[in-house]
């Protein structure tokens, strides 16, 4: 026990839990279980059976409803000794804000977390603090979108006949790229449905897109991962290759600006940026939960530490310097580049999975989890979400990684066997 009362509870399972995990996540629970740190999982009703079956401490909560009863949940958790709430999913972020605000008696915490839940608000905040962002507007209707598209292209001094620069439409409060649309023509705008409003509109930013996974404790960056998007929604790898890494100092500065702008003391953020060949960085958006795209898995595979544990420890203000020092490696000390391809069927109906032999032969190929979908009819894709399976790669050369991810994006992993196709093959 250190003298300031921050006793190390991690190795004493008998200690009362002080961490609440918001949302059901097996790797997060596993991370805490591994270090013998007790916790309570706050999960939606449908996971209650699972928690009971495995004897895991839990509270049932419906995160979808309005935030007004967070006081109840805070009290229930506080009565059980909880002092820290960790948001694992997008819809739990404001709950973490509210709960941590209750635990620390700091109502402003909640408001700060709310910034993460409104993409227009977070951009405005960044802009007010002098961070470079594209042009953006909130839109209430299709007319707003059309006007925004026209104004942006006028500003780019396009004349009739030029190809219009696209604009981006994003829901105000959805995870990552869910609901993200790219619009360049009045027809595309006309096809939008009314339930997509209100939303955020952004001008198109040129350059390489990347994300950062920033582990922050006591206002300081403890670990900064740069994750390279190869094709947003389809493939990425960590850490980013040399082309991005050479801007690491500038990227670090941009992230520090963001931390200051958002007054973040403890936790993990997952901002997305664009960078031009000249090193000009523009801010896209930022989230405060576990990132998508399997990025945590990629970080673990590349750097060898458990990002879930890191996230949870960083959210807790009582985590010690020693614990953090034990956990994080040097940012330049990675074992390999670790990438993944998110696979989505290219056909409307799929009946079989076909993995090219060349992939199995590939040195960088690690593993995949493509199984024959139980439902042969392919679901409509929402934004860049709901991929059907993932292929993982690992290797020492970033360029090769990039090429492989792009090459196998073209592969047709989910195939259909129609009787006529078969006959063609047989004859």
């Amino acid at each position: 026990v250190s003298d300031d009362g921050r006793d190390d509870t991690t190795k004493r399972p008998s200690a009362p839990p002080r961490t609440a995990l918001l949302g059901f996540s097996i790797p997060a629970m596993e991370a805490l279980d591994r270090v013998g740190r007790p916790f309570i999982a706050v999960v939606p009703k449908e996971f209650e059976g699972y928690m009971k079956e495995h004897g895991i401490a839990y509270e049932v909560w419906d995160f979808a409803r309005l935030n007004e009863r967070s006081g109840d949940l805070a009290k229930r958790l506080a009565d059980r000794g909880i002092e820290v709430a960790v948001p694992l999913y997008e819809e739990t972020v404001e709950w973490a804000g509210a709960l941590n605000g209750h635990f620390r008696d700091d109502p402003r915490l909640f408001t700060r977390y709310l910034l993460f839940r409104d993409k227009a608000m977070m951009k405005r905040r960044a802009q007010m603090y002098g961070i470079h962002v594209g042009v953006f507007e909130e839109a209430e209707s299709k007319a707003d979108v059309l006007r925004f598209l026209n104004r942006v292209n006028q500003a780019l001094v396009k004349i009739e006949g030029d190809v219009a620069d696209p604009v981006h439409l994003k829901p105000l409060a959805s995870a990552g790229s869910v609901g993200h649309r790219v619009l360049a023509t009045p027809e595309q705008i006309e096809n939008l449905s009314d339930d997509e409003f209100p939303c955020l509109l952004e001008s198109h930013l040129d350059g390489q897109e990347f994300s950062c996974e920033v582990f922050i404790h006591r206002g300081k960056i403890r670990f900064l991962n740069i994750n390279e998007y190869v094709h947003l929604g389809y493939s990425n790898f960590s850490p980013a290759g040399p082309r991005l890494q050479k801007w690491r100092p500038q990227i670090r500065e941009a992230v520090e600006d963001l931390i200051e702008a958002f007054e973040i003391d403890d936790g993990m953020i997952h901002p997305e940026f664009f960078i031009t060949d000249e090193g000009k960085i523009s801010f896209g958006e930022v989230a405060a939960r576990v990132p998508g795209g399997h990025i945590f898995e990629l970080i673990e595979s590349a750097y060898g530490f458990d990002p879930f544990l890191a996230f949870i420890l960083c959210v807790d203000p009582r985590t010690t310097e020693e614990e953090l020092a034990d956990l994080f490696p040097d940012e330049s000390d990675f074992q390999c580049y670790s990438g993944c391809l998110m696979v989505y069927p290219k056909r409307r109906v799929v009946t079989r999975v076909e993995v090219p032999t060349s992939l199995l032969e590939e040195d960088y190929y690690e593993r995949h989890n493509l199984f024959v979908p139980v439902n042969t009819k392919v679901a409509e894709r929402v934004g860049f979400g709901n991929h059907y399976g993932t292929v993982y790669f690992k290797g020492s050369d970033a360029t090769k990684m990039r090429d492989l991810l792009l090459e196998y994006e073209k592969a047709d992993f989910y195939v259909a066997d129609s009787p006529s196709e078969r006959q063609d093959a047989a004859s």
């Binding site: 596993e30 079989r352 993995v355 032969e361 593993r367 024959v372 139980v374």
Partner: protein, 668 residues
């Protein structure tokens, strides 16, 4: 035997080495993982396994590790976890399915193969048990052991058909095919002994069995199999000579009377012996109807009563043959025979009902479901499928099966009404096919099936006879609703639901071993057994025979005597068998062939005085698996006279089998 090995490019040794290295790694991770986190690591193993299943070399590599699967907890947390609870009948459904199921199922078979080979010694199964299990799995999956190359077989083999072929090639290679033929033929005999209404599956098995190489065509097994093959493909001289329907029809038209009589005789004998009807039989019957009416009794294998019934109802029979008896629905000939021998056509309500079905307006749903039942190009209309199905059910009431559905209750109702209320059954069929709904009054309120929802009926597997296809969705919803209504009454709801659902044939007295509605605590077991003796055992119940089938509940167990679940059967009669042993004869809607309930309790379907469709057990064995029955409270005999020794023995048998899964309240 076809070799599936060439169906896919063989991965290089380097790939196989990498995969096996990864497999070992992830097997270790699965073992290390906490149970709550294990499923993620299991998925990694399943994925590698799926890749390995893609080639024979890979499959062997997987098999080399199969003895480790159980100890590494590969199956933990899923339906495959306990090897002793696996059921051969479920294997195929998983193998041809999607998602991760075919992979887990394959790995499960490999682990059993390792047990059978003596490589895995820590399993819940012995070597012999694993071998028996795999033999039965092969018997039920002959299309994988001996694949054909028809388009239909390819489609029905599922997305992993090639892997399945490799799996069965490996199983056959490891445990051999020596006993398979016997296995299959005895399975066919057990199933056909029950004269099932739905014969597609057993016909398929007969056809498949012909693919099994048998060195000795004169062996007993070969001869037994040949009887079934002929029954299906053509048991008469002309039908063998002219397998094509059109040619057979021409041959029949040109045949003289003696030839026709010979044909009629041979078809009839084959049908009588096997319960299976050849498609050509329908063509002959249609011809006889028009041209040689007096040969019909011979062709139908009718006894005197049946022949008299036919003479009296010639016009109706003509009409029924014309509508329902086509090559695609030839099995209904066996039903027609039963209907005649049971004298059902002399009942005005049956004749009128059947005639009504011929022209009934069907709802679109019913029409679609019925048409899906018929074979392609059969020429049957939806109405003709329905009439044929109704004849079959009325002619073999104990041949009704629940298929792969958890709907034993509905099957039991159909069977009961077919026996004792044929007019009522036809009324239900008419209501369900014309109105798309069945009404059922219960305690002053009438429930309509089309206004009820049941998640279960949405997933109904339609591999059922036409009458069940039409009725089961409705009966199942009504049954669910009634059980919901009585759920809080503090006793087993079947006490009220059975008489309401099945009708006034069910006596209102009701006894159950469970004292609470959740059915977790057994109490008053001795009283329960005494009461059953006093109401059902001829030595203690004043010699009353059962008047109607009694809907009773059994605790079904696996071959280790472990409780699997409650099951609805109908007690048909209690009588001494030909050897003088008192037996309970019952209708079991699951139509299974060989059954082994553990502790030497094996229901038989033939050889102990069973009528077709009946299962039977020695009286005491039956009582020991019983958990609920109905009785007439005014017909209780001498409960006090039942010897203590019998009671003790039955209670011990109950406690040692299904009873292990329950809490027993001490006897007061």
């Amino acid at each position: 035997m076809n070799s599936p090995e060439g169906t896919k490019a063989t991965p290089s040794q380097r790939v196989l080495d990498r995969l096996s290295e990864k497999l070992d790694h992830w097997l270790g991770e699965v073992e290390k993982a906490k149970p709550f986190a294990r499923s993620g690591y299991q998925t990694e193993v399943f994925q590698i396994a799926e890749t390995l299943m893609g080639s024979m070399e890979g499959l062997r590599l997987l098999y080399e590790r199969a003895h480790l699967f159980e100890s590494k907890q590969v199956f933990q947390g899923g339906p495959w976890a306990d090897a002793s609870k696996l059921q051969p009948a479920l294997v195929k459904g998983s193998l041809i399915g999607a998602g991760v199921y075919p992979v887990v199922e394959t790995m499960s078979e490999l682990r059993l193969l390792a047990v059978a080979a003596g490589r895995a010694t820590d399993s819940a199964l012995t070597r012999d048990e694993a071998r028996d299990f795999l033999n039965e799995v092969m018997a039920l999956n002959l299309e994988f052991v001996f694949p054909g190359d028809t388009e239909q077989e390819r489609i029905e083999g599922g997305p992993h058909r090639d892997s399945n072929l490799r799996l069965f090639a490996l199983i056959a290679e490891e445990i051999g095919l020596d006993s398979l033929r016997d296995e299959v033929v005895s399975e066919i005999e057990q199933v056909t002994a029950q004269h099932p209404v739905l014969t597609q599956r057993v016909r398929r098995m007969v056809r498949m069995a012909a693919r099994i190489p048998g060195p000795d065509p004169n062996s007993d097994t070969s001869r037994r199999l040949a009887t079934f093959s002929r029954a299906v493909e053509g048991p008469t001289e002309l039908s063998r000579k002219y397998p094509q329907y059109v040619e057979y029809r021409t041959a029949v038209k040109e045949a003289d009377r003696d030839t026709l009589a010979q044909e009629a005789h041979d078809f009839a004998e084959s049908m009588y012996a096997t319960g299976l009807v050849a498609a050509h039989h329908a063509i002959l019957l249609r011809h006889l109807r028009a041209k040689e009416h007096e040969l019909l009794p011979l062709a139908l294998h009718l006894n005197d009563l049946g022949a008299a019934e036919l003479a009296q109802n010639a016009e109706t029979v003509d009409q029924l043959i014309q509508v329902a008896v086509l090559p695609g629905t030839a099995q209904s000939i066996y039903g027609l025979r039963g209907v005649l021998e049971r004298g059902l056509l002399s009942r005005q309500e049956v004749t009128a009902g059947l005639t009504r079905l011929i022209t009934l307006d069907l709802t679109t749903d019913v029409r679609r479901m019925l048409l899906r039942q018929r074979e392609r190009k059969s020429g049957n209309t939806a109405n003709s499928v329905l009439v044929a199905g109704t004849l079959s059910v009325l002619g073999s009431p104990l041949g009704v099966g629940q298929g792969r559905n958890p709907t034993c209750q509905a099957a039991r109702g159909i069977s009961l009404w077919a026996q004792h209320a044929p007019g009522f059954l036809i009324e239900l069929i008419i209501a369900a096919s014309r109105d798309g709904a069945i009404d059922l009054p219960f305690e002053g309120k009438t429930w309509r099936s089309d206004q009820l929802h049941s998640s279960k009926s949405l997933e109904l597997d339609l591999d059922l006879d036409p009458v069940s296809v039409v009725l089961v969705p409705h009966l199942d919803r009504l049954y669910d609703q009634l059980m919901k209504l009585v759920a809080l009454r503090g006793e087993d709801g079947h006490k009220w639901v059975n008489p309401a659902l099945y009708g006034r044939w069910v006596p209102t007295g009701f006894a159950s071993v469970f004292s609470n509605p959740a059915q977790t605590v057994v109490s008053g077991y001795e009283d329960f057994v005494r009461r059953f003796f006093a109401t059902h055992h001829p030595a203690y119940n004043d010699g009353h025979a059962l008047m109607y089938p009694n809907p009773v509940g059994l605790c079904v167990t696996n071959s280790h005597g472990e409780y699997l679940g409650p099951h609805a059967v109908s007690l048909q009669r209690i009588e001494p068998d030909p050897r003088g042993q008192l037996r309970a004869y019952f209708y079991n809607p699951n139509n299974e062939g060989r059954q082994n309930w553990g502790e030497d309790v094996r229901p038989s379907v033939s050889g102990h005085g069973e009528n077709p469709g009946e299962s039977s057990l020695p009286f005491d064995d039956f009582v020991a698996r019983l958990y609920a029955f109905h009785y007439n409270p005014y017909e209780e005999g001498d409960a006090y006279a039942v010897p203590d020794l019998d009671l003790k023995r039955i209670e011990a048998a109950a406690r040692n089998s299904w009873g292990r899964a329950f809490t027993w309240e001490p006897t007061l």
